[in-house]
Symmetry: C2
Subunit: 220 residues, 2 copies
């Protein structure tokens, strides 16, 4: 199971057809305003002080819900673009990347086993609800990539200038760890190196920012 907090995130997950609510703890006011959304059997009314005690947030926000983890589906990679994340360990980055994927209609993310846990509360919160719409699949990337029948693009140094590339309709896009990039063992599987050209002095871009930029050029 996992925890989601705050009216917006909880509502987004409740509305998704993949979600299965176990328990929901909320202030009286929230319950009154969201009667249609939640079967009363799962709801416990609590006081502000109780919410503070169970919340992971600095500013607890009306409602905390416990959901069953989503069912993991084997990724389908044909006729679409999917993201592959190699050792994205920062929970905020992973959550933000899931939200970006959802913005660009990507519904599969394949994570290396050493990425942050998608059910870490910081990841869940940063997805802003997109966690319910994107299938997140953890695996041994080297073994997995070997078997894939589509073109593999990798964010690497000295690749093709992403701003000059044409949009693609199918393929896997690998984003590496911010400090170390894509691990050496995976590079042989990359069919096309892609690069965001640097104009100024910052040494690197955050992995989530790089993901946003790359997808906005590859997806039309």
């Amino acid at each position: 199971m996992f925890i989601a907090e705050g009216p917006k995130l909880v509502q987004e997950i409740l509305q998704s057809r993949n979600a299965e609510l176990k328990n929901l703890y909320a202030l009286k006011r929230w319950i009154r305003e969201n009667k249609e959304l939640v079967p009363t059997a799962n709801v416990t009314e609590i006081e502000e002080t109780e919410l503070e005690r169970i919340s992971n947030l600095k500013t607890p926000n009306n409602v905390l819900a416990v959901f069953k983890k989503f069912q993991i589906k084997e990724p389908v990679v044909r006729n679409k673009i999917s993201l592959v994340l190699d050792a994205v360990r920062d929970p905020g980055n992973l959550g933000t990347i899931i939200r970006i994927a959802d913005w660009f209609a990507i519904d599969e993310i394949i994570c290396s086993d050493d990425c942050a846990d998608v059910y870490n509360s910081k990841v869940v919160q940063a997805t802003m609800g997109s966690i319910a719409r994107v299938n997140i699949f953890y695996t041994d990337l080297e073994a997995w990539l070997k078997e894939q029948p589509v073109r593999i693009y990798g964010a690497l140094l000295e690749g093709k200038d992403i701003t000059k590339m044409n949009a693609i309709k199918e393929g896997l896009v690998i984003i590496g760890n911010e400090s170390n990039g894509i691990r050496r063992e995976l590079v042989p599987y990359v069919n096309e190196r892609i690069t965001i050209p640097r104009k100024g002095n910052a040494e690197s871009l955050n992995a989530a920012i790089a993901t946003g930029i790359i997808l906005s050029h590859l997806i039309s």
Copy 2:
């Protein structure tokens, strides 16, 4: 004055010609390895436990430096692209945006007075050193925008598709607050509305992600 922590960030700021170091507190090891970088007069050797006590980081990292705030320069907006931030209140977002600007060779950011403080330690850390290379100017945006002689682009709903626009050589790009967008009072100053087209279901993009995507399309 302001505080910067960790070897990488402190080194980046020390190497910038705008930086003026007041004091630096570091572990013996760091001092030994960075002799050329720091005038000994400003350096205090401390123990790990002392660093823990003065650090803002969860994992204190070798060195903490106190710098004088950078001199504020009146922005020059002709013949270049500059960023304008309206009520970007999240420190992590502001820091990340400064780093993105630096990546794209933008050297001026004009902030509304209600943006996060650039010297907030979370902002400083998130800039990864770019804070020393980008001029951050706080002002009353409405009064300021009125006086500007260049074209003003604003990230707004129902604008031109950013992925289909040509690169520009001059102009101001306004990024609004994530929840509320660009405040109503500023919209009349926008000469061109620009939009990142949404393909999927996420309701919005984080302000830093939007900045990265917009700049990567506008700057060539």
